[in-house]
């Protein structure tokens, strides 16, 4: 992005690309607030000084764009769009003294607060994870000494066992214990990690499909997920200017290479 002003009608090529990258990444957002935060960052100002009106316009443009591309947005994104449209009208129109409820400024201030709080939580989450961690940076006794003199048997159960047992009894047949169904899902983060490691070697044009990790090519569900995540990751890298992408024609293989001095 070269232009700090947001003008939905006059987008440069790079802005359009960036907007499309946003769109393609829509599943990568953790909800509308996360998307708003990402949009707010494109304003390149301190979050406290973010223009909520501008933000509402950016968001509405985003939803419009998604509609053009016939992308289905989850309901909560549309709820947020409706609310932002309402907020925008409140901010633009002179206040109606007969109107009940909070003013547009109050609503805008709360939204700004929510964004700032979310960003703050992200920051401290990152600081937390950057701390020295047990089992990675510092360690417990490798050989806890249990002098085997009397062998006592204790029975143990976890809170999860207890709650699941209760749920099982109270719901009899309908109960299905929670299982992690995510074997077949590759996340964008995983794909990005992997691509960042690999692009250094991609001086020449190589096919995107060759970046699908081993073990993910056979099973259709895994392959689908890995393809989508890898593709999203390349878009991200392209957006960051690290790689070039090309495609000969519709449905032709997508090829990428490292951008020289990227």
């Amino acid at each position: 992005m070269t232009n700090d002003d947001f003008q939905p009608d006059a987008l440069s090529v790079s802005e359009r690309l960036a907007a499309e990258a946003l769109i393609v990444d829509v599943d990568g957002y953790e909800g509308p607030l996360d998307l708003l935060l990402t949009l707010a960052r494109t304003q390149k100002v301190d979050l406290r000084k973010v223009s909520v009106l501008g933000l509402a316009e950016q968001y509405l443009a985003f939803v419009e764009k998604a509609r053009d591309l016939r992308l289905e947005l989850a309901a909560d994104y549309l709820v947020m769009a409706a609310w932002l449209a309402f907020l925008k009208s409140r901010l633009l129109l002179p206040p109606d003294p007969s109107e009940e409820g909070p003013s547009g400024e109050e609503l805008a201030a709360h939204l700004a607060f929510q964004l700032e709080r979310l960003q703050a939580m992200r920051d401290v989450a990152a600081r937390l994870m950057a701390r020295d961690q047990l089992g990675r940076d510092f360690f417990v006794r490798g050989l806890p000494e249990d002098v085997a003199r009397t062998r006592r048997i204790t029975y143990t159960a976890t809170l999860m066992d207890l709650m699941q047992a209760y749920a099982r009894i109270r719901t009899k047949d309908e109960f299905r214990p929670y299982v992690m169904d995510r074997d077949a899902v590759m996340t964008l983060e995983q794909a990005l990690d992997r691509m960042r490691g690999l692009i250094g070697y991609a001086g020449e044009w190589t096919e995107l499909s060759s970046y699908i990790p081993e073990g993910w090519e056979i099973d259709p569900a895994r392959r689908r997920s890995a393809t989508a995540a890898t593709f999203a990751a390349t878009l991200q890298l392209a957006k960051e200017g690290q790689i070039d992408m090309r495609q000969g024609e519709t449905f032709a293989p997508i090829q990428i290479r490292k951008r020289p001095h990227g």
Partner: protein
Amino acid sequence: MADETAPMEVEQSLFEAPPMGEQERMVEAILFASAEPVSVAELAARMPHGADPAEALVHLRRRYEGRGVQVVKVGDAWAIRTAPDLGFLMQKETVETRKLSRAAIETLAIVAYHQPVTRAEIEEIRGVSVSRGTVDQLLELEWIRFGRRRMTPGHPVTFVVTQGFLDHFGLESARDLPGLKELRAAGLLDNRPPPGAGLGEEDDESEAEDEGQSELFED
């Protein structure tokens, strides 16, 4: 690698070993964290080039003389062990843990959610009779205890959970256990309504249960 061209002095300073105090710290940390005794060769392999673990061990061993733990030689490897005269402090540690049986965990869950509860009520909720051994086991574990007798014909005894139960499961009170609706919201239950039963009915049930609980706990 350009080892052969480097003059001797440079090579030495490049690979200068850390000071002996540092080496001692390293040996200490490795011996502490390792699940098995560690040989001098292994120590050397893990420490920076040029370190002298054998000498560091001599210092470390001396440092721990007379302490609560000691650096001891096991075969040709080294380990940190409790001082023999303090073995009596360790007796408590030998425990073998086993998973609680399904019958026991279900009974325990019912006591936790419905306390005070009688045996007949437990059986009604589980739909199976509760064996004596199951209740005895929970009593022995000190996770449940006898509560007040019920003021109904026959004056049956009731069961309640103990402080030990709360400690084990990391709860401040049994009231803080999530109800059925909350379990559902937390994804511990499928959202699918039970076959043949309306969803409203379900909700009623969990609300009744919440009320029951708070009423029982409030004093």
